[in-house]
Amino acid sequence: MTILDSTASGLAAAAEPAAAEAADEHAINTGELASWFQITPLMIILALFFGLPMLVVLAVSFFDFDRSDIIPAFIFDNYTDLFRSEVTLRLYLSSLKFAAIVWAVTLILGFNIAYFLVFHVRSLLWQIGLFLICTVPFLTSNIIRMISWIPFLGRNGIFNQALEGAGIVNQPLEFLLFSDFAVVVAYVHLFTLFMVVPIFNSMARIDKSLLEAARDAGAGRFRVVAEIVLPLSKTGIALGSIFVVTLVMGDSFVVRTMSGGQSASVVSALQNEVAALQYPPAAASAIIMVIIVTLMVAGILRLVDVRKELAG
């Protein structure tokens, strides 16, 4: 590359001075003020409908209770009971296990679906069409979607009948319904779209010529994905992960329905307490849950700066 030597001076002369404008303080102050005004409505709503209830829950978590009443107090019994109980750990492990499995499955599915939509479907019309098909399950309620799995996966359900009819199995598969398997299937069905959408968004912003440039440089299909697409979809993956993880951690209905009551989640246990009018322990459990989920989200945000995606 010695030939470039003589070119260098010419090329350097062509370089413009680096754009380094001194910040105008006045302008920034005005901008900041405007930003505060813009977020005020949301801040008020969050303070009223999220902040305040959380404070109430926090306060109640220190209350005492008996069979019929909650008694204002400041005791730590609800927390110590929670931490002493073996059930707590088992519930959290179970919820975390579901979160991990569902996260992995929806990530793989979501990444591939988004990749297909963005890079293989060339026409915008088809892209929109297929995208809408992804949202079809959302046209009906969660409950109906859950219940419709039952005749499909049940002991004498369509799937088992098909397997038997095809001679693949002699006896109906028992693990299909009312099992951890069924819970994961339902979660994946419910939450994959939450992974697809943010990943689709970040992928759609990738300049297609980047992929060609990588191929030009000798990258094969998998290298292109690993070196270019994956790093540039990171923010979408992070956002999708936040959705999926928080949704799974906060769920009780799917676990209860699809496991046939055999599995429980942190929230379903909490609901039982509420049903038994044991509000203070339920509040303590909720506070711990909020802290743990917040830590998980904070962990994801530490790994990936999602502001870039949201700002775009």
């Binding site: 070119t7 260098a8 000798g218």
Partner: protein, 385 residues
């Protein structure tokens, strides 16, 4: 690379490219000699970028063959072709440092970190960007990004460099600087450059060979000099600019000169280079803008009754510094432009609306190929400059 020191002769042989119903490139053949700087010039949608992308291996021809150094490269992956491409928007990887961008191709070849960084640093030093090695591309200016893109394309020692509108993202000043530099790099490397552009002057400024395209086929492939001085047909003349298209009906032929009558009734003389146009046939010619003498027509005087003199009204006047561009309205849709040397113009300046006579010598007229009664298509893009 299969053939790193191999010839960079690029041959496009009978290539057709269809996208569904639309034909982007129609049975096109073109040979670009090794070490040439070739510009593909045409309005947007003429198929020039499609050709480039087929040579690069980002598109497959529907029919025909593409050969580099005499061997067909159809179906070969990009690296096996010995080509490198510089993208219109540079396509730098926004999440990788400048250094890693330049070193990317070496990484794909399995070179170790220190080795590829050393080579990339060397290249960056040569485009004077070594102190930006650890920056991310979005933190660089357009001109700097372009140099990173050039360094990245050259790191594999390609025998053919493909440039897709490399200067279109730069401002006017940088564009003029960079096109000269691209030409120098090409001369010094001695490899084939294929440069796609829709800017006529850019093509003529940098290229050895200019290929003027329209609607998926070649209108003319010739040296930059010939494209400018001797355009083959009215389309090329209008698109390249620099010449005016003349048209008339043949009245008679004598001594290798045809005498014609234009639609406005002016009498024109074309040299016919041994061709035999029939009487009554429509013939096209072109005359360079800087070979036209302009004279004011005093009010009330009759139009001159001589060959190659047209009367019209001054439509626009643009001072270009060393010359003045005068557009004359001849009463038809054909643009007629004369470039007057500044001294001559300012001796007795014209004004918009003045009636003038434009005169030229018959020997300066370049005969065009356009067939009888075939009205050639007007170029779509901003043709004249």
């Amino acid at each position: 690379m299969a053939n790193p020191d191999g010839s960079g002769e690029v041959a496009v042989v009978g290539v057709t490219k269809r996208y569904g119903e639309t034909v982007a490139v129609k049975d096109l053949s073109l040979t670009i000699p090794h070490g040439a700087y070739c510009c593909l010039l045409g309005p947007s949608g003429c198929g020039k970028t499609t050709i480039l992308r087929m040579i690069a291996g980002h598109e497959m021809p529907s029919k025909g063959d593409i050969r580099i150094g005499g061997t067909s490269v159809l179906g070969l992956p990009q690296i096996k072709r010995g080509t490198a491409m510089m993208f219109q928007s540079y396509a730098l990887f926004p999440h990788r440092s400048v250094l890693d961008n330049v070193a990317f191709a070496l990484k794909m070849r399995g070179a170790g970190l220190s080795e590829r960084h050393a080579t990339a640093r060397e290249l960056l030093a040569k485009v004077q960007l070594e102190k930006f090695a650890n920056r991310l591309p979005p933190q660089l200016s357009g001109g700097q990004q372009q140099r990173v893109a050039l360094a990245r394309a050259l790191i594999t020692n390609p025998r053919v460099l493909l440039l897709d509108e490399p200067l279109s993202a730069l401002d006017e000043y940088l564009r003029l600087r960079m096109r000269g530099e691209l030409r120098r790099v090409q001369k010094e490397l001695g490899i084939t450059f294929i440069h796609v552009t829709h800017t006529q002057l850019e093509a003529i400024a940098v290229a050895d060979m200019v290929v003027v395209m329209a609607n998926g086929h070649i209108e003319q492939a010739a040296s930059a000099r010939d494209i400018f001085v001797a355009p083959r047909n009215a389309y090329v003349t209008r698109f390249v600019g620099g010449q005016n298209v003349l048209c008339g009906v043949v009245e008679g032929v004598s001594d290798g000169t045809a005498v014609l009558t234009s639609r406005q009734g002016a009498r024109l003389a074309f040299p016919i280079d041994g061709r035999q146009p029939a009487r009554g046939a429509e013939l096209y010619g072109s005359i360079r803008r800087d070979r036209i003498a302009i004279e004011k027509l005093p009010a009330g005087s009759l139009p001159p009754n001589e060959l190659n003199a047209i009367v019209g009204e001054v439509h626009t006047i643009e001072n270009q510094g060393s010359y003045v561009k005068v557009t004359i309205d001849l009463g038809d849709e054909e643009e007629f432009v004369a470039h007057m040397v500044d001294d001559e113009f300012f001796r007795d300046p014209l004004d918009i609306g003045d009636r003038v006579v434009a005169r030229w010598s018959a020997s300066d007229v370049n005969l065009l190929d356009d067939g009888l009664n075939v009205r050639p298509a007007m170029p779509m893009a901003a043709a004249a400059s």
